[in-house]
Amino acid sequence: MLGARHAVVAKEGWALDVFCFQMPTTQTMPDVHGHFGPYGGMFVPETLMSALHDLAAEYERAKTDPAFQDELSALLRDFAGRPTPLYFAERLTERLAGGRIYLKREDLLHTGAHKINNALGQILLAQRMGKQRIIAETGAGQHGVATATVAARFGCECVIYMGEVDMDRQRLNVARMKLLGAKVVPVTAGQATLKEAINEAMRDWVTNVRTTHYILGSVLGSHPYPMMVRDFQSVIGVEARRQILEREKRLPDLLVACVGGGSNAIGLFHPFLEDRAVRMIGVEAGGEGIRSGKHAARFQGGRLGILQGTKTFLLANEEGQIELTHSVSAGLDYAAVGPEHSYLRDLGRVEYTYATDDEALNAFKTLSETEGIIPALETAHAIAYLVKNAPKMKRNELVLVNCSGRGDKDVDQAAAAFGLKEKSK
């Protein structure tokens, strides 16, 4: 039994030249102006409209250009480390005594999370457009690190905007970005987290739009970003679908992923959307609980609105002012959800729930202890769904979870939460 499983792992691990990522080209959503039904669109200042139109046009050309496909595939394989393994979480499965749990190991990618998939795609587009200055926002720092990494790889100037609160809770990633040669600009406005970082990055872009490409890190913002980032991230689901079919000879019963902006979730879900029997769950940040008002669960307490270029579900008051959000995880601590998620929720194709800070922290510990995998706090929200619900599942129900990032960046914060920090003198 063990031998057989080893053989499969070895076969995948040593597959030398099979990796080739075909960009999806036949999507019906969004429409030409970036609408997913009533969601999405291009709600930006006029100064950016022409840059966004240029970006959309360049992306359309690139995704059907074999040279672009080849270059991206080669980078994803040799630089980022794709394909990532699909790992059977045997001890977690035993511990939860329900379901049969697989982890898609995006945490094993270069820079430690799925963010590199999108950063590589976009830096190649920036190269095609002749833009040598790169900017990005970051919450948890994973997208900032991925962007700083690809900017270094291509010799571009790089500026990362990051909320001051996030810089404090994700110090390790701040240091990584600086070591990679990026300038990290602290953002002090508002609640000094991801939303304010996006505001600042957009302001920079408005000012320097002719020379600068903005590598937006999630399926957020104006068209074409939600579509483009989805397509770059769909490599996750394409691989996972093939891998689970090879391994189990059937499709999974359930997919689970955490949802901040929602790029890792959409990347996993999208290639399975036509597989009607596959259920999908997106897990938002429940913070200190929905009733406390301190959370980032847009589908729980949110409303339809417009923020930072897109129409989607968001947390705002009746006056339309954006509300403060809270999550233990910087990467999920954001007031709006990607517009395609709002659409998929309307269709009933994806269900959305939430995990609280405490549930996520416990899941963080559970995965670390049972599998020897320390997940990112963002990812821990997806694991938390399993901890709660897997015990109610049948033993043969196949569950595939996106292990979207690793938790090195969160070790300080988690150690403090669990009282494991040694006191310094």
Binding site: G41, F43, G305, L307, G320
Partner: protein, 263 residues
């Protein structure tokens, strides 16, 4: 139906004068002071007032206007409060008022209701920073004009398209970037405005980055009106709710108005 904005530019044209448009954020420091400020600005020579409806995430604005919005929101400014404030100004003045805002507050209030109540309060135009013509909301029949922005990055075919749907006046963004004071004004302004005039008969106001009387004079030459925002907002921030605030702002606005009109 004639609108105060159209009347205002018709009068300026007939008098061969350039317009001066100050921007202030409603509710900064308080809505009562906003009424006083608007009336004082008119006395100082303002031809039209751009009144900011504060929003928590003003991504087309620089730090000065963002802080003003934060102060206004912290002081409890609401949409209804801003409408009441316009009503009070209207009771004493016929100066055209354009509300400057982002889409989300209008969307949450209800676009149709917003237009209806804005008109009732005496608002003449709406400038929605993050609403390009492609996403335009179905306009109710309210006599509230949607003012369109054109940026230096707007390509020629798009200028034509925007010009077709524009009303009142065209707002040309003089610099790439967010609102806020700049040291210099783009030298290509004259050519750009000449280009705009090929596609539209509407008056052209120029704003973003104009902060001194000297800049106002230069910009006013090719344009029909000059918008000054952050430099005035900065002065309001400096003096806050102190009694001399209105006087200081009036004096500065007077210089700007005189400079714009002298060109």
């Amino acid at each position: 139906m004639k609108n105060r904005i159209d009347n205002c530019f018709a009068r300026l044209g007939a008098d061969k004068r350039k317009g001066f448009i100050p921007y202030i954020c409603a509710g900064d420091p308080t809505l009562e002071r906003t009424v006083d400020l608007a009336l004082a600005l008119e006395k100082a020579g303002a031809d039209l007032i751009e009144l900011g409806l504060p929003f928590s995430d003003p991504l087309a604005d620089g730090i000065v206007n963002q802080l003003a919005a934060q102060r206004a929101l912290a002081a409890g400014t609401t949409i209804r409060g801003v409408f009441d404030c316009v009503c009070e100004i209207r009771a004493k003045s016929q100066i055209p008022i354009v509300l400057y805002s982002y889409l989300n507050p209008i969307f949450q209030f209800g676009a149709e209701k917003f237009h209806r109540e804005a008109e009732k309060a005496g608002v003449d135009g709406l400038l929605i920073l993050d609403l390009p013509p492609e996403e335009d909301i179905d306009l109710p029949k309210a006599n509230v004009l949607h003012i369109r922005l054109i940026a230096p990055t707007t390509p020629q075919p798009r200028i034509e398209k925007i010009a077709k749907t524009a009303k009142g006046f065209l707002y040309y963004v003089s610099r790439e970037g967010v609102t806020g004071a700049r040291d210099s004004i783009a030298s290509s302004l004259t050519e750009k405005i000449a280009e705009l005039r090929k596609y539209s008969q509407l008056p052209i106001a120029v704003g973003f980055g104009i902060s001194t009387p000297d800049q106002a004079r230069k910009v006013a030459q090719p344009a029909d009106a000059v918008v000054v925002g952050s430099a005035i907002v900065d002065l309001i921030a400096k003096h806050g709710d102190k009694p001399e605030m209105i006087e200081k702002v009036s004096a500065f606005a007077g210089e700007l108005a005189a400079a714009a009109k002298s060109s």
